[in-house]
């Protein structure tokens, strides 16, 4: 059906999912026909197990982890749930510290733990650039550190692209003996990641955000850290995660992670250049556009190279998205779709934006196959699109 065959689009939503890299596609294809349960004892099973373990070693090496620290999951959301719930259940403390700008894969589990398991959740404030306020974390830790089960702080914000002060936050938590989890789903391939050099105890990653397949991810977790499993039934992954290993997916995932890490040093500056070109082009067409996140003066270390989050005053983000979509330019409002209804971004609200600004925003996110032609298409479209969305915004305000 024609509706299912992708047309030629300018895909600027890589933070949602990024195309698989050829090496990962080749790897996945080459494994799909193989028989073998990695838990079986015969030759086919041993072959499957060997592939999983080689993938584990490849992935661990790419991220500075030990192979035994890699727990494969069905994606980033499961990894986040395993870390947050698994740590809470394994430890005595009732308090969970996390930030107001987390992904829903962390916010919803902690909220669930608060409602069903007696957790006391403290959503630490973020500042107007989207960064965790370390003073608030320090104050929360100082109040009875023994009662804190875990601290979870994302590494790169998925909506705005703000790089969190993760190392400093982790040091504060560790000074009180509090284990640290980080959602690094948007980090791999964009920032250098070396678990050996990083004071975190658990780190979530996802296949489809790095050029691997959807439906596979991992929690990298220190051997000495106890986690209560979410899924029981076989204990395949270190007894922390059960379920038959997705051999082909895991192999392709590891290839993609390796690929992303190896190309990072050359890709990051390219993405920055394209992103800056995008922001400059949009600013020329729409002078009152606001770039959200860290100010340019904060330097490149403060923001992810591939994300530009912009507020278009007077426009409805949903209208902008629809109009750009009609022209083949694909981006995101950055807002979660709660119960099918678009909600204003909780990240922008936590950064102090009002409801109107939060609803007037778009996220453009670039990735490994982004080109100047994609940027040019977005820049060419944005002026008329904003003008039209603005008049629709006015129409919505005027009452009959």
């Amino acid at each position: 059906m024609s509706a299912l065959s992708p047309g030629r689009t300018h895909y600027l939503d890589h933070a949602a999912t990024t195309p698989m890299v050829d090496a990962a596609i080749d790897e996945l294809r080459s494994r799909l026909g193989d028989v073998g349960n990695a838990s079986s004892l015969h030759a086919s099973g041993r072959r499957a197990r060997r592939l999983v373990e080689e993938a584990r070693e490849q992935l661990a090496a790419a991220l500075g982890a030990r192979p035994s620290e890699v727990v494969f999951t069905a994606g980033g959301t499961e990894a986040d749930n395993l870390a947050v719930k698994g740590l809470f259940w394994a430890r005595d403390g009732r308090r969970l510290l996390t930030t107001a700008g987390e992904h829903h894969a962390v916010l919803d589990p902690v909220d669930w733990l608060a409602r069903h398991e007696g957790a006391e959740v403290e959503l630490l404030p973020i500042d107007d650039t989207g960064a965790l306020r370390l003073d608030a974390l320090a104050a929360a830790l100082d109040r009875d550190p023994g009662s804190v089960a875990a601290m979870s702080c994302m590494w790169v914000n998925n909506e705005v692209g703000t790089v969190q002060p993760l190392a400093a936050a982790a040091a504060l938590a560790h000074a009180h003996g509090v284990p640290v989890h980080t959602d690094a789903v948007q980090t791999i391939g964009h920032l250098p990641v070396d678990l050996a050099d990083l004071e975190v105890d658990a780190l979530s990653i996802s296949g489809h955000k790095v050029g691997g397949p959807q439906g596979v991810g991992a929690l990298l977790v220190r051997r000495e850290l106890d986690l209560v499993p979410l899924l029981h039934g076989g204990g395949q992954e270190r007894d922390v995660r059960s379920g038959t290993a997705d051999v082909a997916g895991i192999c392709a995932f590891a290839v993609a992670v390796d690929h992303a890490v190896q190309r990072r040093a050359t890709q990051a500056p390219q993405l920055r250049r394209l992103r800056d070109s995008l922001v400059a082009g949009i600013r020329a067409a729409v002078p009152d556009v606001v770039l959200n996140g860290p100010p340019v003066a904060a330097g490149e270390a403060a923001r992810a190279p591939g994300i530009a989050h912009l507020t278009f005053p007077g426009c409805d983000g949903d209208a902008l998205l629809m109009l750009l979509d009609a022209q083949g330019v694909e981006c995101s409002t950055g807002s979660a779709c709660t119960a099918g209804v678009p909600q204003p971004s909780h990240v922008l609200l936590a950064m102090g934006a009002d409801d109107a600004a939060a609803r007037s925003s778009l996220r453009f996110s670039l990735g490994h196959d982004s080109t100047q032609a994609d940027i040019d298409a977005a820049v060419a479209a944005i002026g008329p699109v904003v003008e039209r969305a603005r008049s629709a915004g006015l129409a919505a305000t005027g009452r009959r």
């Binding site: 119960a339 678009p342 919505a396 005027g398």
Partner: protein
């Protein structure tokens, strides 16, 4: 034309969108999210604003191969339809929220936004017909009189009609269902929606009690004698016979009906069926679907429909002095007509316009 198809997740709006595609239009599907807490509205096949309904609409758009989005109209809907509904009951009137939704949401908020975004028209699954007449576009009843929804569209102005598409107006409902099945739309056998979509359990009195509180008042007969009490006059509507909570029957043994609701005191007056008969209606806020009717001769001979599935009643329409005010003289008395209801004026199948009933007069000498 670039057409925005409002898709509720029901069979009618899906087939309407399909027909707009077949007609060669460039169609985009939208589902209107009318509550930010969709579970608070009706669930299953009975509503128009649940997550399941949004999913059904999305799947229909997939089958049609058209883009699909959810538009959040929850604030406008809450203000213009839900609050209006509650306020009308507070004032002792009986509103029609579907009519208000068409007037304020589908053919105002949505249409305005659609036009501003570059669309030419909004298509819905309403059963009504728009035809080109000598003086512009005309709104007519649907061919399927059992499904005709021109009553709830009687609030549309000529300008709104100029941008409205009702692709189902020439077809019977049974055929629409069959067509949906033929087109491979999974919602072909989904039940029709009924009642007020934003009252989850169908308990209108409970919904109003939660918002208006208990407002005790008296139930009296036509002479003013107290027969009983109630917790809120909003639980009553003109013409109601059941649940009057007055215990003993009338002296003559005949059933009694709600004849009048006095909103300030909350007094509910009951009496015999004959007391419901009215033949003169004062109505306000008239809206014309085309040029204002020519009542130069003093009045216009027409028919008027007084409730969503009511029969058309022969009548004469006269313009009153105040702007937007009209008087309707019914040829024979009608019963159970409540202020707040819409009177929709027809010439044959043509919808002339509508007005909101403000006062009714008893047929004293018919």
């Amino acid at each position: 034309m670039r057409v925005l198809a409002a898709m509720s997740g029901g069979v009618d709006s899906a087939v309407a969108a399909a027909r707009a595609v077949d007609a060669g239009h460039d169609v985009t599907g939208i589902h209107l999210a009318l509550s930010r807490r969709p579970q608070s509205y009706r669930t299953g096949g009975r509503g128009c604003c649940t997550i399941e309904d949004a999913g059904d609409a999305r799947r229909a758009a997939d089958v049609l191969g058209i883009p699909f989005y959810v538009w959040d109209l929850s604030e406008r809907f809450h203000t213009d339809v839900v609050e209006d509904f509650v306020e009308e009951y507070r004032a002792g009137r009986t509103p029609n929220p579907c009519l208000r939704c068409n007037e304020k949401i589908k053919f105002a908020a949505v249409l305005d936004r659609a036009l501003a975004l570059g669309f030419d028209a909004v298509a819905t699954g309403h059963y009504a017909q728009v035809v080109d007449g000598p003086a512009g576009r005309e709104l007519h009843r649907a061919v399927d009189s059992a499904k005709d929804q021109s009553y709830v569209l009687g609030v549309l102005t000529a300008e709104q009609l100029a941008h409205a598409l009702f692709p189902l107006g020439d077809t019977a409902k049974a055929q629409v269902r069959a067509e949906a099945a033929d087109r491979g739309l999974a919602l072909a056998d989904k039940p029709d929606s009924h009642d007020v979509c934003f009252i989850a359990d169908g308990d209108t009195a409970g919904f109003l009690r939660a918002r208006l509180g208990e407002r005790p008042g008296d139930v009296v007969d036509e002479s003013g004698e107290r027969l009983g009490g109630h917790d809120g006059s909003y639980a009553y509507t003109i013409g109601q016979r059941r649940r009057l909570r007055i215990g003993a029957p009338a002296a003559d043994g005949h059933p009694r009906y709600v004849l009048n609701i006095e909103p300030v005191s909350g007094t509910v007056t009951v009496g015999p069926h004959a007391g419901l008969a009215v033949d003169c209606l004062d109505a306000v806020a008239a809206r014309w679907c085309g040029p204002p009717p020519d009542a130069a001769g003093g009045s216009l001979t027409c028919t008027v429909q007084l409730r969503a599935h009511g029969e058309p009643v022969p009548a004469r329409l006269a313009m009153a002095d105040e702007p937007g005010a009209v008087q309707l003289h019914l040829d024979s008395p009608a019963h159970g007509i409540a202020p707040g209801q819409a009177a929709v004026v027809y010439l044959g199948t043509l919808v002339v316009g509508s007005a909101t009933i403000a006062r009714t007069h008893r047929a004293v000498s018919v």
